[in-house]
Symmetry: C2
Subunit: 146 residues, 2 copies
DNA sequence: TAGATACTCTACTAATTAGGTAGAATTACT
DNA sequence: AGTAATTCTACCTAATTAGTAGAGTATCTA
């Protein structure tokens, strides 16, 4: 380690969430242009285009082409969790492949999963992260602070 | 996302923890050879050498060169947390740079941290992960299941 | 129906990181 | 002296990230 910030959310995922929050604030009030989201959120427009397309293909967004077009949220902000979006862009919510729920893979160096204490403890750790990410929704970001 | 496992612990970090657990089981009972740890944990020996050296330089291990040498744990297994080792090899325990405790960095696209709801919510998420990683120690891995 | 606007799709690229390998130097015991 | 083990530096390859570029398609307005 020299001095960097590994293992964080990718920018794709972060930008996706920011766009969803913006679109969530406009839920059931019409479309937003990619360009407007890009400007207000400081996201490179061509990069955002790809991300919005991914979100559309995954069913979160609808779109209209041409003049007066744009994107809109198809699901309620309450139904979209951070866990869903994270899994879509960044993959497993887990620190070891063998404790992932949606993207399970055996560890290459593991000889017995049943007795592996790495697996036991990291399952606990990843479980906590999953719980919080599952209960945090786009709606959570829209709430005013108390 | 095609189908990969991002954002997990690096192998460096995983191997470091496995080595610490092995050395922890031998705490205050003498040295272990790099070669023996590499064999029993299925870790490439030359790669493990670097990792053990990092752990030594960080103060977790002591070593003896030459015939009958090897590595031993300098701290109690109870005092070494997963959070410490993760930070040493993989950096920040946080999903956004702006919510990191030990490796804080401003997000480039952020205009006002005070009102940023991404920061507010991801701080909650990362806080949970940190808490669990801080209370999980090398000793936790050594305990038998109940 | 021409033109403007905005999404759609595919391909490419540069920088960084992960996960190692290689080999020489040093230390210490027998 | 020889052997066993750590120490240290340099290097390598493949994959991934964070974009950019540009052509194509759909849709509205004048």
């Amino acid at each position: 380690m020299v001095l960097h910030l590994f293992s964080m959310m990718s920018k794709r995922c972060k930008y996706a969430l920011k766009a969803l929050i913006k679109l969530g604030a406009n839920y059931e009030k019409g479309n937003l242009f990619t360009a407007d989201i890009a400007n207000s959120e400081n996201i490179p427009k061509k990069f955002l285009e790809q991300i919005l397309l991914d979100l559309k293909n995954a069913g979160y967004l609808g779109s209209k082409s041409g003049y007066g077009g744009g994107y809109y949220l198809r699901k309620s902000p309450k139904e979209i969790t951070v866990a869903d979006i994270y899994r879509l862009f960044d993959g497993a919510i887990a620190l070891l492949p063998c404790v992932a729920v949606q993207f399970y893979e055996k560890c290459e160096d593991c000889t017995d999963e049943g007795t592996c204490t790495m697996r036991r403890e990291f399952n606990k750790i990843s479980e906590q992260t999953r719980l919080v990410m599952q209960k945090t929704t786009i709606q959570s970001f829209l709430k005013k602070p108390k």
